[in-house]
Subunit: 246 residues, 2 copies
């Protein structure tokens, strides 16, 4: 099988290289990744911006994988892939990440990692986004690795549902198991404060605290992560609220 | 009541100024808009980028409205709003648009217009995105205007459901009525072709054709638009696929 890998932390990120190594157990790997960090890029696409796509050498231990970098977003990477390298045959699987940072709860709507998976879901390709709740460039993915393998096997063995993909998050450190979860309700608060730059101008730099609206609910991704479990949330690109429609 | 208006075409766009004029019938209007076009920005947020927020004068016919521009995305605009102008009291309503171009079907996941609404939904604020299926800067919004008024009245009179917002699209020209719809299934194809720039380098510029997977289904937003109706789709920021989870 042929696997496309992308991410939002950019080519060279430890999480991406870890994922390439793991996915080489499943088949041929092609990477099309941003040429630098694209965190918080959601499903952004580059409208009117000329994109390039340059081959890059892969580290020796990942020999056999093919890799390209672009000046686009994670969503652009998947769109470029299906119109270039995978023009004749779509990839059998798109995997995105491993993201350095959580994409649980409402983070999913801001996530470039998951944005790439949503494009894959639109194109009818099975897709999985992997994220570890650790922003450090040198984050330790070792506890997560066996779960990435087993969950990929499990998802590939299940019938593919059009328009959906999987948002898989792991806590830092040792892992107690896997929970199938729903997206936790909550919102970000205290995201912008006025600061003064060198020229005396008022500026705002994104920060914030997550406010969990349902910390006791045991079926959410946040609960799983808080209690040492990997969370697996199936996501749909159909944003219709059917309850409200009825 | 106090209304926040933003968009993804930027301050000065005809659709935005039209919306300000219409919303002044409902209450006090504050605009926080990008300083230029941000089409296709989805829910992108500016991570690590200092944002400014400058007051701008409003045209005389919109006197009474307050307006600011920022170098951020539509999502940043709403986040800035709730942390600055609306720090003490959240807006009673967020409206986004009027977008120059359709946000029906899968376009919703790429839409900066709707991205702003999703942030509002996260913050618990009623939100409506308005879009006209016409990309022209000088698009004619006149047929849509009475529907914008009546649908805003209708939505404000309904009980607010946390985490949802409304994606309202209108066809070009005369309108036959309103349909409450779901998001049509479909995908974009032929989005990138290799071209050569002045330096002889291969580049790719986003284009594409929409492939409707269910043109006969009469309950979709695409069907409504194709048949001269305004489409109203309630959207949720909970992306969990509950059918897959079960």
């Amino acid at each position: 099988m042929h696997i496309l890998i992308t991410n939002d932390d950019g080519w060279g990120a430890k999480g991406l290289l870890t994922l390439v190594r793991l996915m080489q157990q499943f088949g041929n790997v092609t990477v099309i990744a941003p040429d630098g960090a694209r965190s918080g890029q959601s499903n952004a696409i580059s409208v009117g911006v000329p994109l390039y796509m340059h081959p890059v050498p892969v580290p020796q231990e990942l020999a056999g994988a093919e890799a390209y970098v672009t000046n686009g977003t994670p969503s652009d990477c998947v769109k470029l892939a299906v119109n270039t390298v995978f023009r004749e045959h779509l990839p059998d699987l798109v995997v995105s990440g491993i993201n350095h940072g959580s994409n649980a709860a409402v983070n999913v709507i801001y996530s470039g990692t998951m944005g790439a998976c949503f494009v894959a879901a639109e194109q009818g390709i099975p897709a999985i986004g992997f994220s570890l709740c650790d922003h450090q460039p040198n984050a330790d993915f070792s506890f997560f690795e066996p779960y990435i393998i087993s969950l990929t096997e499990q998802i590939l063995s299940m019938p593919h549902i059009d328009g959906i993909c999987y948002n898989i998050n792991a806590p830092i450190g040792e892992i107690r198991g896997v929970r199938w979860t729903r997206q936790c309700r909550g919102h970000w608060t205290k995201e912008f404060f006025p600061q003064t730059d060198d020229k005396g101008e008022t500026i705002y730099v994104l920060t914030g605290e997550f406010c969990n609206h349902e910390p006791e609910a045991e079926d959410t991704d946040e609960w799983a992560l808080q209690h040492g479990f990997v969370s697996v949330t199936p996501d749909t690109i159909d944003m219709t609220c059917y309850a409200a429609l009825r």
